[in-house]
């Protein structure tokens, strides 16, 4: 008798399950249908990092080339190139000059660098395929010269597509995030 009751209870549980899926059947979709709709929470999305333009000139980066982001990046995906101009420009390897507190066997004999050297950023590259989006670079930048882009739709077919030239992207935003909403006719 008890077993019969248990079985009936079990059968009832099956009916309950059916009822739940049956109800869900008639509820609207939950998925966001990508090319036609887009998600609306990209404001907090972390895309690849991008350079922040200086306040007075949207074409120049704010970066002061302090090398901190390069150093802290766990996956070594950032690489900078720069050259010095003006006084002290010929003083040698700019990389060594720029981190005077680092004493390497090769820099010990060099004359102390001048206090201030004018520098120009030649390139700022990010190997996005290595980036773990940890945010350490962004947080360690003393002048807030980098930030996460909102570019959620970066796609590529080769590895080179993810070797991003951030300086060029700053000057010429190739894939600025589209505003959410229907896709503009192409």
């Amino acid at each position: 008798m008890k077993r019969l009751f248990k079985t009936l209870q079990g059968l009832w549980s099956l009916a309950v399950g059916l009822k739940i899926t049956g109800v869900e059947l008639f509820k609207p979709w939950l998925t966001v249908h990508y090319p036609r709709q887009e998600v609306d929470n990209l404001a907090t999305f972390r895309g690849h990092i991008e350079l922040v333009p200086a306040a007075d000139d949207p074409q120049t980066p704010r970066c002061i080339m302090c090398w901190k982001c390069v150093e802290i990046c766990p996956s070594r995906c950032i690489s900078l190139r720069l050259h010095a101009v003006g006084e002290g420009a010929e003083a040698g390897d700019p990389g060594l000059l720029l981190a005077p507190e680092l004493k390497s066997p090769y820099s010990a004999h060099l004359p102390p660098p001048p206090d201030k050297i004018e520098r120009v950023l030649d390139s700022y590259r990010l190997n996005y395929s290595l980036c773990s989006l940890c945010g350490l670079c962004v947080q360690s930048c003393p002048v807030e010269a980098i930030r996460f882009s909102r570019n959620a739709y970066l796609v590529g077919t080769t590895r080179q597509d993810f070797d991003l030239d951030l300086l060029a992207r700053l000057r010429n935003p190739v894939d600025a995030p589209r505003p959410p909403g229907p896709r503009p006719p192409t």
Partner: protein
């Protein structure tokens, strides 16, 4: 001329050939429709759109899939018994055509009016087990072999309650002819056998789910245990035909259930065949609904359900029916 043509067309042989052609066409279309329907049902239950990109609302998706399956290379695993391996999908699909012959879509629209229609269907659908067995054996794969072993045990066990349920109805009507059985229920809703023989209907339907290897009784292909069970090694159309066969068997059992229990073509307003098809697909929908709701049962539980519940219930029902028929009718 006209008379000769009519004579030719009404000749039983010609009728059968025509019916066979129509059935094959129906099977193909049915496969496509069910493929689409299953995905849409799954999608809606899971609150997503299902196929959507190919054609309007994804309507062309089954065609794309069919194209994909047909254009894929046919690979037989190393060490497989090639003859058995390729024979298995065919053995699985071929009998299903015969199973469709006696199904009464309406009093007129019946492929072949045989008075042992039910027996024919039961006999030929049993062949499917052989196909699964061949597939499992021929694949030279351990997963397939385990799947095949399960398939055989399951089909053999569930054929018994299926038969018991069918027999109860056959006793009551006194015929094994599906058209005749359906015809006795054409007197309105309450004459449907589902109300006369509810227990037989339940036993029949549960066994049918097991017999077609549908979830929650899809043990032969339990993919979390046996990757894909008996059809693990099949690619391209080998798999496609199994798939088609599975969907066709679904329709067969649902059609039989409709004819036996749900009044066949009986229904107001629209013509009979539409009612018949509607009932069949409603049952198919229920099968899909089960699949997307329940977990899979375990093997010994499956057999326990069969031996401890369905067969005793089926037997009791049969005996009761027999006694009633003896005394009342």
């Amino acid at each position: 001329m006209m008379a000769e043509l009519t004579a030719l067309l009404t000749h039983p042989l010609a009728q059968m050939v025509l019916a066979l052609a129509a059935i094959l066409a129906f099977l193909g279309v049915n496969g496509l429709v069910l493929l689409y329907a299953e995905r849409k049902v799954a999608g809606f239950i899971q609150r997503r759109p299902g196929p959507y990109e190919v054609g309007p609302h994804g309507l062309l998706q089954p065609f794309a899939d069919a194209g994909k399956l047909m254009s894929k290379q046919l690979v037989a695993p190393m060490g497989a018994d090639r003859l058995l391996f390729w024979l298995a999908p065919l053995v699985s699909l071929a009998p299903v055509v015969v199973c469709f012959l006696p199904i009464p879509f309406s009093p007129l629209l019946t492929g072949m009016d045989v008075n042992l229609g039910l027996l024919l269907i039961l006999a030929f659908s049993g062949l499917n087990t052989l196909a699964l067995c061949l597939a499992g054996w021929g694949s030279n794969s351990k997963y397939s072999l385990l799947g095949a072993a399960r398939a055989v045990a399951q089909s053999v066990a569930y054929e018994i309650p299926l038969l018991l349920a069918v027999l109860a109805v056959a006793f009551q009507v006194g015929s094994l002819d599906l058209s005749a059985i359906a015809a006795t229920q054409a007197k309105g809703l309450l004459s449907w056998n589902v109300f006369v023989q509810p227990l037989a209907f339940a036993v029949f339907f549960i066994s049918a789910v097991a017999e077609t290897n549908r979830a929650p009784f899809d043990l032969p292909e339990a993919e979390s245990e046996l990757t894909a069970g008996f059809h693990t090694e099949y690619s391209g159309m080998g798999f496609g035909i199994f798939f088609l066969a599975e969907y066709s068997y679904m329709v067969v059992v649902c059609a039989v259930a409709t004819a036996l229990f749900l009044g066949g073509w009986d229904g107001p307003l629209v013509p009979g065949p539409w009612w018949f098809l509607g009932k069949v697909f409603a049952l198919v929908f229920a099968l899909m609904w089960f699949r997307w709701t329940f977990p899979r049962v375990r093997f010994d539980q499956l057999l326990n359900v069969c031996w401890k519940w369905l067969i005793p219930l089926g037997l009791a029902n049969l005996v009761a029916t027999a006694l009633l028929v003896k005394w009342v009718g």
